[in-house]
Symmetry: C2
Subunit: 261 residues, 2 copies
């Protein structure tokens, strides 16, 4: 059992939790909680850490956990608390290998339905878009280089496991990636406050992608220019804009509604 | 100028920021930032606090602020930081009088469109529902007694000013309030994982209300039983549920879409 925070594995976890650069260098991230650990694809799991008291209280109950696995490491409760990102740790976390998808997988085999996030900054917004995206049936998610790190513990938490199942990629050149999608026959819609078409009047039965801009500044003009159409979500009252994850959800579920027929 | 955190007004603000009970007893709450202070209804504003450096940098620029008002109080930058709930304070905040609406106003004059929140716990979710609600054109919002305090600084921030404009009320007896709405001819829909009707197949042209449950536990069964219809938002993949604010947004914008025609 690991009983010291000076332990190398513990330091590795803490660094993975706190430093995006360290995560990128190691191509690993950390997930916490029973649900997130159990849903992780087995081949991607590098290591599982359980708190001493978690073993005592769950060893007989949780049969899905391979307690004898060489990947399993027990740590004292105090050390686990130091490793955890949450106020009330569940007592289980795992190191998981990063996996990004190629553009062909994000665009999908049949009906492309892609959310494109430009420089989103709020980890909760990004995580919620991934979660809602799985629910609405997106084929994948594309993020600009300056979008918040999808492997941030807060983002991972708010995906509720969808991070394992929704194909996604980061791109160094968002505009080029959008051009590549257009070449694949994808119609690109920009959600824009100056859009003159209501999102609900468009036909999303074909391949489609939606550009979602930064929370404060919206889409860059050079990105907006690549869109085939500017659409807007109508707003009553004095509302100037909607939350980014809410806008994305409204658009995604309109596609879902239309495609279900 | 106030230069000490021992000042009675400073203590009052700090208590209003941090204690829901103190807010209720005083029937006051605090809003922060230029936008939130300027959008507050003038008659509801009790006091405005500005940081010394805010006065220096904005006195000539911000003409909407009544700098000579007896309600205006300047505080030193250090004291303002102590009063603020944010990491990077803008330098302006106000004490605002609480105002709840009667049920008749929440239900609205013509077309009732009410969101009913039962025991929502996340301040950001509640604030986002109020903001999206204004955008989608709700007539008002009803909250159970155990819903998170709408005057919590985090909730207020995430409403982006909609808190001043969307009628709302707390009720001690949610079930009784739902019965009263039904007596007014409102059709009540429960968003429920066991719903067998897709939300998008219903007709929301008439008076309608939606019951939204707690993030972890959903709606109580005795509340669900009062609904005229259980509806669900279809989900692809392995998603078990959507975020509460996202679910509410999808429902609200479907009503908006149908009513715009």
């Amino acid at each position: 059992m690991i009983t010291s925070t000076a332990n190398g594995q513990v330091k590795h976890v803490v660094n993975l939790m706190n430093k995006a650069k360290y995560r990128r260098e190691n191509r690993e991230f950390v997930v916490e909680g029973i649900k997130m650990v159990l849903e992780a694809p087995e081949e991607s799991v590098e290591k599982i850490f359980v708190a001493e008291s978690f073993v005592q209280s769950h060893k007989s109950g949780l049969e899905n956990i391979q307690w004898d696995s060489p990947k399993m490491e027990t740590v004292s409760d105090n050390v686990f608390k130091q490793m955890s990102d949450t106020m009330t740790p569940q007592g289980i976390m795992a190191i998981v290998k990063m996996k990004e998808s190629p553009l062909s997988e994000v665009v999908g085999q049949e009906k492309a339905f892609v959310m494109v996030c430009e420089d989103l900054q709020d980890p909760g917004n990004l995580g919620t878009i991934i979660r809602t995206g799985e629910g609405a049936g997106v084929s994948g998610i594309i993020m600009s280089k300056n979008t918040v790190d999808v492997y941030n513990p807060k983002t991972i938490r708010s995906t509720m496991g969808s991070i394992y199942r929704v194909p996604f990629l980061y791109t160094d050149n968002l505009q080029e990636t959008i051009r590549q999608m257009k070449a694949l026959g994808v119609t690109v819609y920009a959600a824009h406050l100056n859009g003159n078409n209501s999102y609900a009047k468009e036909d999303y039965s074909g391949k489609c992608a939606f550009l979602i801009g930064n929370e404060g500044n919206g889409l860059k003009s050079e990105t907006t220019e690549l869109a085939d159409k500017l659409i807007k979500i109508p707003m009553e009252g004095s509302v100037e804009s909607l939350n980014a994850a809410v806008s994305a959800a409204v658009l995604m579920y309109e596609v879902n509604r239309q495609r279900r027929g």
